[in-house]
């Protein structure tokens, strides 16, 4: 049903290939579907595909997600590190492939986005080392949602609970349907949502974070909007899809290297307390950005009222 909807929207449209592609993936046993949009636009869609297990972030699911990110990172243009001379920069991008421009994470269920860690799994193997392994895998995923140099968009439809809510709060851009809910109810089973709380408290206002974490009660989409967890609430999945398409269009029409540079510094400065320090570093980033080919082209095109012709490179 959901896959059919996806097919009818521009995002995965392209002579029905998108539909069949997902369907065939769907017939596999993978807990995670992964597909490119048909238009060769560099948009990768990851679909949590284990509705019977409420799309739990099991070790398997986390590893599959991280595997996808391993691959996707190689398909991105990465920002040049400051202090590193340009000439020494080795692009990790294989030019023969489409450059990755954006990632969309959603679920293959209209009831559940993800229920978080797999409690059964945590119980079956009671070795603390095994537990640590799971949380390390989870942390690795959350940190790279931030470090991967393309925007990560999350489409929530249904319930996002515990580490599922952490995943949502860790994406760059979050949309949700009206029927969606968000919760961090771990304490109800004796496992406080301490790590989900790290992502949630950095996203929503602090009173919402303490309310959610201490009571475990779910908030609805409107409360998620008020609290800052979500910036767009759509009445249906279809309208969310249309909204997402507009957002993707905004992203892919910009130069990849500039988005990469921008995302990296954005999260860096957010962690800086001192305003003057942040501006000092930010100004240098701006000056460097201005020397990039795509910036010179972008401003030229703007002044000449024409479409820019991006290289998407760090030159």
């Amino acid at each position: 049903m959901r896959l059919f909807l996806l097919n009818n929207l521009k995002f995965l449209d392209g002579g029905g290939k998108g539909f069949h592609q997902i369907r065939s993936l769907s017939s596999s046993n993978s807990v995670l579907l992964s597909t490119n949009d048909d238009g060769n636009r560099g948009i990768r869609r990851l679909i949590l595909n284990n509705p019977k297990k409420r799309n739990a972030l099991s070790l398997n699911m986390l590893q599959e997600l991280n595997k996808q990110f391993d691959t996707m990172e190689k398909q991105c243009i990465h920002p040049i590190q400051q202090q590193q001379p340009k000439s020494n920069h080795q692009s990790t991008t294989d030019d023969s492939k489409t450059l990755l421009r954006a990632i969309v994470i959603s679920s293959n269920s209209e009831k559940i986005f993800s229920s978080g860690h797999d409690l059964k799994e945590l119980k079956l193997n009671n070795d603390p080392k095994y537990h640590q392994l799971i949380f390390d895998e989870c942390t690795r995923l959350m940190l790279r949602l931030r470090s991967i140099p393309v925007p990560v968009i999350c489409q929530v439809d249904g319930l996002a609970a515990a580490a599922g809510c952490q995943l949502v709060a860790s994406c760059d851009i979050v949309l949700a349907t009206e029927r969606s809910q968000f919760s961090t109810p771990g304490a109800s089973v004796g496992l406080f949502c301490s790590t989900p709380g790290i992502a949630v408290a950095r996203t929503v206002n602090r009173r919402w974070a303490s309310y959610m974490l201490l009571t475990g009660r779910a908030i609805n989409a409107n409360e998620a909007f008020i609290s800052g967890l979500v910036t767009c609430v759509s009445p249906t999945f279809e309208t969310m899809q249309t909204q997402t398409e507009s957002i993707l269009e905004s992203i892919i029409t910009k130069p990849a290297s500039v988005i990469a540079l921008g995302k990296q510094f954005m999260y860096k400065q957010m962690e800086m307390n001192n305003l003057a320090d942040a501006y000092s570093q930010g100004s240098r980033i701006m000056v460097d950005n201005l020397s990039m080919k795509d910036c010179q082209e972008g401003i030229d095109a703007f002044l000449q009222k024409r479409q820019p012709n991006w290289t998407h490179s760090n030159e």
Copy 2:
């Protein structure tokens, strides 16, 4: 009138005992009423009870509040400090008493929650040492609202001004009636709300904080909701009471030791700038949490679809 309302709600219901208990306390001259709920559920209600002085946080009121917290801290289960071996842990809980599970702070007036520091008192004794004593007592209260290992719920009905607003912003969970107002108007009497601003700026969005502090103008309940100061606005005191009861139910059905561990780390990680560091510590907390008896019981009960049987201990 208010006390009568309280009596008619489940929270203090129990054959009318709650009503009489508060009434008898009320007939005392104490500026602060303190009562347990009748159901032996470990819920302590503190009621600011000096409406003639607009429930000012006088030195007396602050000391009474801190005295209550001294007692309540002994009735809580405290989280085991990391690095401290479990066997050495001395529980401070006297097992013969009901374990404290939650604190509810409200006022005995539908017009004023609290007007903040007592200006008359600050004026009568002009010794800076005396002033310092008052602010130290106030800080002690604000810090322990955060450190006490049970959730503190604030019910605002009426005006919360200056240090009264600071008290609100320092609680874990804040509800308010529609008629409530919030302000930090100290500069109007020449005393800028510098310490209230510390709590307010950590709770609401920064533009709301600077607006409130620099103009002293009151915001209404809806603005408090938008700004993040309050997460639930109720049309009447009765509906706020019902909402509070649901929240309390959510809290007391969870294991006390897990809430204690969770609240402690929640505020700790909120003060950490570096995301990777926060996750590193958070993962260890999760692994420790998983080894607790109540966590194992909680997950078992969940998987077996039965009610959990908590020990509420740190074992």
Copy 3:
């Protein structure tokens, strides 16, 4: 048209002098208009006045703004630095002039508040040193919006984009009309809004910041209200003007030295991670504040139910 509106409101009213004053300024070629309110109330209005260039923050505009702030800083009472003995304090205020109490920044256009940096200018001179100069001038402005010891109010009517949005997010109090929009679209021309993002991410919830910065899409006034960028949305410029007048009234009826002390510490504590440290410093500020003449007068007046008689000094 806009100037006519301003004239018809109390803010610039005074026998039409305000109107003519601005008009005559307007006939000058200055990109920035500056006017005092007629009532000698110490309110300075700065009007971005280059609508043909979309009120761009060109080097010229930035320098004009900084020149105004150089002058205005000398018209303020400054807080006494802690650790600095009172007797050594040299007031920078020339007593013969009206003490500055508040600054209002607006634009002379109902379509555009400011479009941010002047792209043409950035392109014409491609010397990185020149670019650095522009960003340094911009940073200097943003930092002093925070450091100048009087409240800075921003009235947005129309689009605030890129560094224009940064200017908005850097003011203490922000009002906007319903038709206003806010964006950080730099990446569309290849120049990521890295420095605007510093101000925006410290003002709005983090998900709004990443959404705005990575997509460049504009948010409307309602979204700006939800996100925390704006605390008051008015249907028309006239109602925004009335709202501003109320806010100004709230400010100028308070003692200047207390506002100065308060604003300085407010931003200082916002940058402090540790709550106990913030309270420790805050308590000392409160004790110092209580020893000020205007505080003693303010509390006296309050207790005696009369109007206070401020000295506006640091005594």
